[in-house]
Amino acid sequence: MSTAVEEPLAERTGKQPPRILRGLPWLVWRQHRVAFVACLLLTAAGCVHMLWQRHVTLAWLGPARAHGPFKIVEASGQAYAESFQNAAGLMSLVPVVAGVFLGAPLISGDRERGTVQLVTTQSVTRGRWLAVKLGVAVLITVACSAALSAAFTAWWEPAHDLFNAGDWSSDDVFSNTGPVPVAVALLHLAVGVALGLFVRRTLLAMGLTLGFAVVWNLALFSHVPHGFAKPRVLVNPVEEGQPALPEGAVRYDNWTVDARGGLHGFGTCFNESTPAECRTNKGIVAERLEYFGYDQMPGMQWTHAALVLAAALAILALTLWWGRRRPL
């Protein structure tokens, strides 16, 4: 310590920014700040846009509702459906961005450049470094996806019976509102990080993560939500026709029912020349509607999100365990 006469640079130049972050969080932020700042800026822009759209939506929705159903459908269908669909499309990219641009390069970049050795031969263990890296990435992902989801949900909710023709069980609404985007983004992040740890090449890890995102979308396209709740049932005498779908509900299935309670296909006797005679012959006495009520939606979303989140946490834990286990 014989050279203490020389003032450290930070104090001498005097134009240093305040030292808010310290230690490993500083390093992780400094190393990935371009990606992190880009994510935060895009999130801010997206939130501002969607909150503005919400404002616009509320402005036409009130008067339109006052003028009856026809006006509502006209107004929403013509002017606002497109901007909503575009926003839903962009929202579905949130997990892809989290996985491909945040997750995949997180560790693979350090492995590719050898900077794993640089960091872990400072006075920090590999386990702590990985934990802080994952922690910061998870924090950014949760903050961005939660903010975007909140803004999108706030826009969609007042007009939930109109946007996407009221079908909230489709991917556009179900996967982009409430807790689902946060959980799915975390899962993509976790998959990206894990792939990056294993394959070592950043570009390859990004490609594989993109592949995962595609598979995830194909596999889950509008199939998953229906498994998370029991559909409700309405039955009408056949003379009254099909039961009306309750307000805000999503149709799941239609049946015809005979006197013994047996179910027949929705189209039974539909194309006969004398449908009434056909129904009499088959003993069909009622029409049955299966649907999901609007109040079932949060339960289905939270169940879905919890499962996805559990998978994400399991992958993150596995990554951490594997990453710290190998060298000291």
């Binding site: 020389e6 640079l9 490993l24 190393q31 960091v119 190998r326």
Partner: protein
């Protein structure tokens, strides 16, 4: 094996150390120690296990056999992290960081960080602190990496080919820097190098490895003093009897001239020209002759259940 103040006398102690990568045994049955304060050259052919040894000491690789102690504590002990600095062969740094950011990383991640030392090293190379590391030349990057290593104030500095990719001028500069800082901080230095001339001028200890095993270890002076280069006229085929009495590391015949590198057991008889060999001759002799028995001086030798490589006891000759 500790001094009065409780610190270990040995910077590194390997006992039966081994490292296996899938099928390949990079290091095996490695028992040697390096005293604290030494500047030790680690030499050997490509693939001899030099980088593996340094990697194990730097906690980048986990040994598969045996034990490795750094200043008396097991290498796996995280308490020793702050004691060791490692400079990898390709000197990885974050290219998008400025020099200043790189030094700040050292400050943020090391409890004993000495900003003044690090800045002095950077400034003496006339490096602008605001320059991005990715835009620096090889020599400048080496200097930044060295500043990071010395700013940590390590007790043990591990360097893997520190001068390999530098031009002669930069190599000379880095070597001077290295020795000056090591002397000032009293750090132990272990550096691998292919440049025997560097090893000869910089190092007072030597560790030669081949095939993952120790070939030579100990103080350079003592190692050299234990050898003789004998030259004379060849009268018979093969190694003459009066030479074969000694430990012959390597022998060569050129025309009628016979040359041998030997470890004498007692006086050499006969009409031979006898000189003490240079470092390069000894090193090359051992690296060329895998069958020659290894030589460890008393300081480098480990006595214990794993120390099987010390059947040669005539070092004090």
């Amino acid at each position: 094996m500790t001094t009065a103040d409780g610190a270990s006398r040995w910077a590194l102690e390997a006992r039966g150390l081994g490292k296996r990568f899938r099928r390949v045994r990079a290091v095996q049955d490695f028992s040697v120690r390096i005293p604290a304060g030494a500047v030790c050259g680690l030499v050997g052919p490509n693939g001899a296990g030099k980088s593996t040894l340094l990697g194990m000491a730097a906690r980048i690789l986990r040994p598969t056999e045996g034990s490795l102690r750094v200043f008396g504590s097991p290498v796996a002990d995280p308490a020793g992290l702050a004691d060791t600095a490692f400079l990898a062969q390709d000197k990885p740094l974050f290219p998008q960081f400025t020099v200043e950011d790189t030094l700040r990383m050292g400050r943020e991640l090391n409890p004993r960080w000495d900003q003044a030392v690090a800045e002095r090293i950077v400034r003496s190379g006339k490096l602008p602190l605001g320059a991005r590391v990715g835009s620096l030349s090889g020599g400048q990057r080496s200097r930044v990496a060295l500043a990071l290593a010395f700013g940590k104030r390590p007790r043990l500095l591990l360097l893997d080919e520190p001068m390999a990719d530098l031009d002669p001028l930069a190599a000379h500069e880095v070597a001077g820097l290295l020795l000056a800082e090591a002397a000032e901080q009293g750090a132990t230095v272990v550096m691998s190098s292919h440049r025997l001339a560097d090893v000869a001028t910089m190092c007072d200890h030597l560790l030669a490895v081949a095939g993952g095993r120790v070939r030579l270890a100990g103080e350079t002076d003592e190692l050299l003093a234990a050898h003789r280069l004998v030259t004379g006229v060849r009268l018979t085929d093969g190694v003459p009897a009066e030479i074969a009495r000694h430990t012959v590391v390597e022998s060569r015949t050129t025309g009628r001239q016979f040359t041998a590198l030997i470890r004498p057991r007692g006086p050499v008889e006969g009409d031979w020209k006898i000189v003490e060999p240079g470092l390069e001759e000894v090193l090359l002799g051992y690296l060329r002759s895998p069958a020659a028995p290894p030589l460890l001086t008393a300081a480098a030798r480990i006595d214990g259940p794993h120390g099987q490589e010390q059947e040669d006891q005539e070092v004090t000759a």
